[in-house]
């Protein structure tokens, strides 16, 4: 039984590393191998979801590395495996753009393996290991086309931001051990003693917010859009971005252990959902819009985790995975065909490629939260859980739902119009478009669109209660009779209103004051804030300490200030400072003493006599004085 679980993790990891290590030789067959491995992983995932195996191995002193598939993990593994398969099939279609197929598919499989371990890990060290490997895979994939500097800079920003937040997990592990949870078992974390539980919760929450791009870390998702579209679809929509939310869902008991845990998570989720929704509405680039929408949708999951709605969160996660993956793949298809992702340039793209347009429309409508589609149902369950907590939360959630309708319709409006005559000027701004969509791209789009629609079934009470039992929180509040139609009405009216405003010509902006629009378009100015508050001071401090270490002689800076030193003087003094300055000072005094010590050796004999006589006289006096 446990072999199945090790196999589930091992297949993608070994296949990925094999593809990576073989380098350029396997580039041609790589897509096929990738898809095969993904299919095998999907099979294993489904099997393990059914059989619910468990396995563990010794890792550190008294700490084991455990894997288990319970209700929540079962759903997650299937979702991850399915989306991975779909995305890999899509990227097989885009193989001429992803020339180094071996490296691409290797990294994607490596990522999938890490994600599977994250969702099935039962102990903190193993979770942290998979967590960091995901970050590294994301760095490698964002910077896949490494020849273009802006992509590699974006990869660095993404990696460093997530790693900053991951420090929380390191501290959480230490706090757990100090708090008495010696085996670092995830389920037992809530039992940590005394003040350590606060540090533990803070660490976990920080790491989750970092990975799921919640406020204040959400700007890295915008930079992550430099990645190829399949990567955006898999990592930055369905799996990695949701890993943070999954962690909070998994550790909801810990959140309840501290008074401030739940509310903080809930309100951050709600705030992110609303604010990032507004940011999405202000975007002019389709992928940026979808990225901001991802942040806001994950905000809902975090809200659900904060208010104890684990089943709701899981439903939202699953539905969103399908919807957003579909949208990103569609955007990828158009980018591949038209070479642009600017909304004005994409006018009429849906009409040009009907299948892609149809899938995009289905997913966009689901994203808007229109009834009977999947996200409407999942979002209501989340709002129900929020309503049980506090009305203000419910109101914010509803507002966020409305905003999601607005930006979905905005995207739809552009895409569904007929292509204008001068549309070709906007093409090929990002890359050289091929003006066609390869046959392999179509099936994944359709499957995901179908899933986006089918998951609407979650609204049925029977299905939702089955999900609650599977996830292990049977007493979770389900949406009451009046909540479902209310949210449907809000979504429909918001969509209609947005369509009308958008309809009055390309000029009008949804947001009246220009300043607010610019602030929202720049992802709430989070990146500039992060750069000025954190990155620039650290780099300045680093340069200052380097200079201090290299050159600050105890008095040198003072003397330099007195402008006596020329540049040559500075160069001459360019060896190390600090204690080393002390050493050089000692060397200088030693040199002076050396000259002094040689002075009595004058060569004149009578001076020797005199000095010897004085020496012994002093010694005698010393001896006499010590009576």
């Amino acid at each position: 039984m446990s072999a199945l679980l090790w196999l589930l993790a091992a297949v993608p990891l070994t296949a990925g590393t094999a593809l990576l290590l073989t380098g350029r030789r396997l580039d041609r067959p790589a897509p096929a191998l990738g898809v095969a491995a993904a299919a095998a992983t999907l099979g294993l995932a489904v099997a393990s979801a059914v059989l619910r195996p468990e396995a563990s191995a010794p890792l550190f002193a008294g700490i084991r590395a455990g894997l288990r598939v319970d209700g929540l993990s079962a759903v997650m593994t299937v979702v991850v495996a399915a989306v991975t398969l779909a995305v890999l099939v899509f990227s097989a279609g885009e193989k001429d753009r992803l020339s180094q197929g071996g490296r691409f598919h290797g990294l994607m499989l490596l990522f999938a393996g890490a994600m599977l371990i994250t969702v099935t890990a039962t102990t903190l060290p193993l979770l942290l290991m998979a967590w960091e490997v995901m970050g590294a895979a994301s760095w490698a994939l964002i910077g896949f086309w490494w020849r273009q500097p802006q992509r590699t800079r974006a990869a660095d920003t993404a990696f460093l931001t997530t790693r900053t937040a991951d420090l929380g997990l390191y501290l959480a592990a230490g706090a757990a051990l100090a708090g008495g949870v010696t085996a670092l078992d995830l389920d037992a974390l809530a039992g940590a003693r005394g003040p350590w539980v606060h540090l533990l919760t803070a660490g976990v929450v920080a790491a989750a917010f970092g990975k799921s791009a919640q406020l204040p870390f959400s700007f890295w998702l915008s930079r992550a859009m430099q990645a190829p579209s399949p990567v955006s679809a898999l990592l930055h929509a369905a799996t990695m971005a949701a890993a943070g939310a999954y962690l909070l869902l998994r550790l909801h008991a810990l959140l309840e252990a501290t008074a401030w845990g739940g509310p903080l998570v809930a309100w951050t989720g709600a705030a992110t959902a609303l604010l990032l929704g507004v940011a999405a509405a202000a975007q002019r680039d389709l992928k940026q819009l979808l990225a901001a929408s991802t942040c806001s949708q994950i905000g809902f999951m975090v809200l659900a985790a904060g208010t104890g709605g684990v089943a709701a969160g899981t439903a939202q996660l699953t539905a969103h995975a399908a919807v957003k993956a579909g949208l990103f793949l569609a955007a990828g298809a158009w980018l591949y065909a038209l070479g642009t992702k600017q909304l004005p340039a994409l006018r009429g793209a849906a009409r040009a490629w009907q299948w892609v347009g149809a899938a995009f429309t289905a997913c966009a409508l689901a994203l808007a939260g229109l009834p009977p589609l999947s996200l409407w149902a999942a979002k209501d369950e989340v709002l129900a859980a929020a309503f049980a907590q506090s009305a203000a939360l419910y109101a914010t959630g509803l507002a966020a739902a409305a905003v999601s309708a607005v930006y979905s319709v905005k995207a739809l409006w552009y895409v569904l119009r007929e292509t204008p005559g001068d549309a070709w000027q906007g093409y090929d701004t990002e890359e050289s478009g091929t003006r066609r969509v390869t046959p392999l791209m179509r099936p994944p789009l359709l499957v995901l669109a179908a899933a986006a629609v089918a998951l609407g079934v979650l609204a049925l009470p029977g299905v939702f209660s089955a999900l609650r039992d599977a996830v292990g929180t049977p007493d979770e509040p389900s949406p009451s009779a009046w909540q479902l139609p209310l949210s449907a009405a809000v979504a429909l009216s918001a969509a209609w209103l947005a369509w009308r405003i958008q309809g009055r010509g390309p000029g009008p902006r949804l947001l009246r004051p220009a300043a607010v629009r610019r602030w929202a378009a720049g992802w709430l100015g989070l990146e500039q804030a992060a750069r000025t508050l954190a990155v620039r001071p650290v780099l300045a401090l680093a340069r200052a300490t380097a200079v201090f270490d290299d050159r600050v002689v105890d008095g040198a800076v003072h003397r330099a200030a007195r402008a006596a030193l020329t540049a040559a003087g500075l160069a001459r003094r360019s060896d190390d400072g600090g204690v080393d300055a002390l050493v050089r000072a000692v060397a200088r005094t030693a040199r002076r003493l050396g000259r002094a010590a040689r002075r009595p050796q004058t060569g004149l004999l009578h001076q020797y006599y005199a000095q010897a006589a004085v020496g012994f006289a002093v010694l005698t006096l010393l001896l006499l004085s010590l009576r």
Partner: protein, 501 residues
């Protein structure tokens, strides 16, 4: 058996030196590689025959200077065996790497064989004076490597500073040993007897003085801030192989000294001043990372990351001395993390320095700005450096993470604020490595004017065969840590017990 492992390289070195007929470079390096390989095989045999819970094994004892209480006492336990194996692996890698060396190869091979014996001797020494003899000889050996084969005029100045600095440290160490020697009732330098007797139990001020001497001596060698300023010039001027050994093995002598001598022999006073070591460790970690971030020379940057990594070890060793609020498992975890970090840092930073040697051979400069887009002409080289860099910044799947996780988890209970401060170190290390990778390997291709033949060749066979096993071992330890941890944990539990008594 152990003495054979230690003195085999010295015998080969003597043979090579006194060989009457002139020997070609190829043969010299061949003999050197063979000797290193045989020694590695013997070390592997030692590891195979080693019983993890057996404490000190392969012990050999003989009288050297009985009247002065000095004896030739060697033995191996969970702490020293991994370092012994690491030394053999690193010296073999360096031997293979030096196939491309052309300057005075015979003297070069002899010097490194001599250094191997000295390093193996130190890790197996169980007598303070034997430890000191090897400690000093390692300084002499490394001085001649840096002075003889360093880069030009600054090489000699760096070598002189290295010699003077570490020599002051070694003399402080000697004064500490003499303090211990005189405190023991039957005057002896033997580590096991001193550990059992715990001579400085009651004597507060005197014990503090001895600990200060030992602390300074070992801190200079570790190096811990503020005694670290000899390291960057020594590294930038040393040849690649010399840097790999200096970072891979010689720095471990300082940290090994903490775990083998300072903690077991001075438990009471170590507990009393544990906080000082924790602070030094945390400051070294953050300061090293910060200064590394500010560097423009890639080799100096890596040298400063060594200060950062060794700072973690000092933090862990200090945290193992704090009894209040920590349990036995946390302290054992900290010490195991410290020893694992020594092994992992040896492997990874050794590989990194060899790779910078490859860079210098082709570009004749270490400046980061001079290169760009090297992934194009040299994909294998770029991949190796990327893997080494990620391993060094602590990505799971490599031994760096295993060590640093244990250190942070074990140390947080002892001193939360210092550990939290030190944890930011891994973030700074990540930033500096990524920036260097992006600047040098990604983007459009640009080579420094100084590169001899105008193009940047990929890794040659000797370089790949030198670096690949090191990174492979780091990967194996990262993925399957148990075989290594099974050997270290009993010994670190013993040391934690000794400190707590």
């Amino acid at each position: 058996m152990l003495t054979l492992v230690v003195f085999l390289p010295l015998a080969v070195c003597a043979g090579l030196l006194l060989w009457p007929r002139p020997v070609s470079d190829r043969v010299c390096t061949g003999v050197w590689i063979a000797a290193a390989a045989v020694d590695l095989a013997l070390a592997a045999a030692l590891w195979a025959g080693f019983d993890p819970d057996g404490g000190l094994q392969y012990e050999q004892r003989a009288d050297w200077i009985p009247t002065a209480g000095v004896g030739y006492h060697v033995g191996v336990d969970g702490l020293s065996l991994p370092l012994l194996a690491l030394t053999c692996v690193l010296f073999l890698a360096v031997a293979v790497y030096s196939l491309r060396e052309t300057r005075r190869v015979r003297a070069y091979a002899c010097l490194f064989l001599f250094l191997e014996t000295v390093c193996l001797g130190l890790f197996s020494a169980l007598d303070l004076i034997l430890f000191f003899v090897y400690f000093d000889l390692s300084i002499v050996g490394m001085y001649f490597v840096i002075a003889g084969w360093g880069h030009g005029e600054r090489g000699r100045a760096a070598a002189l500073k290295f010699f003077l600095y570490t020599f002051i440290g070694s003399l402080a160490l000697l004064l500490g040993f003499i303090g211990l020697y005189l405190a023991a009732s039957p005057h002896t330098f033997d580590i096991t007897e001193l550990a059992a007797a715990d001579p400085l139990a009651g004597r507060g001020a005197y014990a503090a003085l001895v600990l200060l001497a030992l602390g300074v001596g070992l801190a200079v060698k570790t190096p811990a801030v503020p005694f670290h300023t000899w390291l960057p010039p020594a590294h930038t001027e040393a040849p690649a192989a010399g840097s790999a050994i200096l970072a891979g093995v010689l720095l471990k002598m300082g940290t090994y000294g903490f775990v083998r001598i300072a903690m077991p022999l001075l438990p009471g006073v170590w507990r009393e001043y544990a906080l000082a070591f924790i602070v030094v460790g945390a400051v070294s970690a953050v300061y090293g990372a910060l200064v590394a971030l500010g560097q423009t020379d890639v080799k100096r940057m890596i040298a400063y990351t060594s200060v950062n990594h060794m700072g973690y070890v000092v933090l862990a060793v200090g945290a193992a001395g704090v009894l209040s609020g920590t349990d036995d498992q946390a302290r054992t975890l900290a010490v195991t993390g410290a020893v694992t970090q020594m092994v992992s840092h040896g492997l990874i930073t050794g590989a990194l320095f060899l790779l910078t040697g490859v860079l210098y051979e082709r570009g004749r400069t270490y400046a980061v700005e001079a290169y760009s887009g090297l992934a194009g002409p040299a994909p294998r080289f770029a991949a190796a450096v990327a893997v080494a860099a990620f391993a060094s910044l602590g990505i799971p799947g490599f031994s760096g993470f295993i060590a640093e996780f244990q250190i942070f988890t074990g140390s947080l209970a002892a001193q939360a604020t210092a550990t939290a401060l030190a944890v930011t170190g891994i973030l700074l290390t990540a930033a500096l490595f990524l920036r260097a990778l992006r600047q040098m390997f990604l983007g459009a291709l640009r080579l420094p004017p100084g590169s001899p033949d105008g193009r940047f060749g990929d890794l040659a066979v000797p370089e790949t065969t030198a670096v690949a096993p090191l990174l492979g071992l780091a990967l194996v330890i990262g993925v399957l840590p148990r075989p290594l941890l099974d050997v270290i944990e009993p010994a670190s539990r013993a040391v934690a017990g000794l400190v707590a008594r």
